[in-house]
Symmetry: C2
Subunit: 174 residues, 2 copies
DNA sequence: TGTTGATCTAGACCCAACTCTAGGACTTAG
DNA sequence: CTAAGTCCTAGAGTTGGGTCTAGATCAACA
């Protein structure tokens, strides 16, 4: 019933290092108990929770946000609205990610299509070639990877996302 | 027609720092030219390419992979199959991401639903509460965030993804 | 008895993708 | 003439999410 850190590592897919790290970061619902000799003992429950953590992480939830959630749980009843809030925020986030990826995907499918067509017709040389900019201007199907996605797809093209990474301080002042 | 680095920053959403960084990293199709005084001059074309880069980045393509692509383009015609390969790889990657996110989303929607129901019925105290593990065992709708997604959704539950981050060296030897 | 093998702690290190700083130059407006 | 604004380079610093190392303990096995 009780599990060693090694077993949990195997079954969760996280490394033992990561498990100790998660503990330091306060990501477990209840404190990890120890054997007399100081070794950690885990439970099936912990495995379940870790599986969820991994899922949340893989959908882009930060450890900070996961910690917030588990802290609310630890506090006990009374903050269910806050928990819900948090879940909803992440849900929206995931939905936005999917929309954005769908948009990218449409563009990529279109490009792959163009490449396939050109290669099939033996016209590969009409694809993007930076050294012959004039040829490129004239041709229609030139590969700049930047044509607008085909019209059937533009319906859900993602909003412009701005910088992928925001600076640490107050905010960049350009 | 020509653009300063500041203009490009504004219009691309990248910082001037990032633009210089991208250049150092070899992410531009053709070398960025300079004015007599050493200042960079960019082109509309560069903006287009940067827009694509941002899209690719936001869909998880690494700068390394983007560089590989643009290097192929720089080499000129003859490697179109390789370019296609690269595009297809990323396309698969994006598709996998979407499937995974959809799976997470199903679970989250289910959880949000449970929270909403409970709150509406004033039964919030039956949700996950670590200090009363017995209550929790007995109740059905307990919030462990870990119930399997509702059956209508399990169809496309994502494969287990393993660690989110693989170590730098050959591979972990546990 | 010695040698694995698993674990422990504290803390150093890693990586991607930037951001930020320092010190200097050039341009334009007032 | 000076002040502001944009730009330059080289290189240091940051963040998140871990990984990895060193040195020590402990249990079991041959």
């Amino acid at each position: 019933m009780d599990l060693s850190i090694g077993e949990v590592a195997q079954r969760s897919g996280l490394s033992v290092h990561a498990l100790r790290f998660y503990e330091r970061e306060g990501l477990f619902a209840n404190p990890v108990r120890r054997l007399a000799n100081g070794r950690r003992i885990y439970h099936e429950d912990d495995l379940e929770w870790l599986a969820i953590c991994t899922k949340l992480r893989s959908s882009g939830m930060s450890l900070t946000m996961i910690r917030q959630y588990i802290e609310l749980v630890r506090q006990g009843t009374g903050n269910e609205h806050e928990r819900l809030e948090l879940l909803r925020r992440h849900q929206n986030h995931v939905e936005a990610q999917i929309r954005e990826l769908q948009g990218t995907l449409d563009v990529m499918r279109h490009k792959v299509q163009i490449y396939e067509d050109h290669l099939a017709r033996g016209e590969a040389d009409r694809l993007w070639n930076p050294s012959h900019p004039d040829t490129e201007q004239g041709s229609e199907d030139v590969d700049r990877l930047c044509e607008v996605a085909p019209s059937r797809a533009t319906s859900h093209s993602p909003q412009i996302t701005g910088p992928l990474h925001v600076p640490a301080g107050e905010r960049r002042r350009r």
